[in-house]
Amino acid sequence: MTAGFYKNQHQKDMNAKEKWINETMGALDGIRRAHVNPELIDGFTTKIIHQKQKTSKIRPAVLWRVAATLAILISLNILGAIYYRQSYNTSQETTKAVASEYLYYLGPIKL
């Protein structure tokens, strides 16, 4: 066996490998579209449309009720906060008035 023989054999192997790779790389040439099951598609198309219609029917009524409830709740909260603030100020003023009057009658505190 000479070096030339091994060189030729190696070259043959390389050529076979390159040929195989090239052929494999081209295996998708001429690929055709796969067909999808039409019944499956029809089924879910109908399902999607019905889901949307169902949602559309429910949505306005529920939406208005939720919006009205939220509006009432927010209004009540705001009114409550305003009333509390006013009553807090009034009670503070009353306390100050009572305290000053009471301390006035007691006279200055002697330690």
Binding site: T24, M25, G30, I31, A34
Partner: protein, 192 residues
Amino acid sequence: MVLSPVIKKLREGDEQTFRELVEQFRERVFNTALGMLQHQQNAEDVTQEVFLEVFRSVARFRGDCSLSTWIYRITVQKSLEHIRSGQRKKRSGFIFSIFGMEDQVNIATEAPFYHPGIQLENRERAAILFSAIAKLPVNQRTAFVLHKVDGLSQTEIAEIMKVTISSVESLMVRAKQRLRELLAYYYEKNEK
């Protein structure tokens, strides 16, 4: 921005228009998903998810690209979500190396995927090629599948992937290089 009558009708929830849209795009969506996922059931699931998304989000479609591009984008996105979430069933198969080094040999236990649109004489080799495609990084995989399986032009792929045409060219070159490396390794291990 001028919206086509089809988009307007879809936004109004027109049932017939939606059915026509599904009819027109179902095979394109399914084949893209099938090429990306290499799994019939998952491709059917993605097809359903795509049309559901189209129906739900058509109101947000701004018309800055064609309807076809938009649907392809959703298909690619949904397919990538499936790949990333690992929902694809693991199958037994052959040993593969990405880098050709023993310590970096990637063992994939996946059964061959036989695409129904492949000619019979190419069936086995296409299955090997699909296994190699599954090893590509997602961007290369997307560009390669859209080009080779769906037959889209580089311009169309660039629009779908929101990249420049030169980026698509680069992705394709790198994908082919990587595939050749993977196939060479497979040949050394199995075919020689």
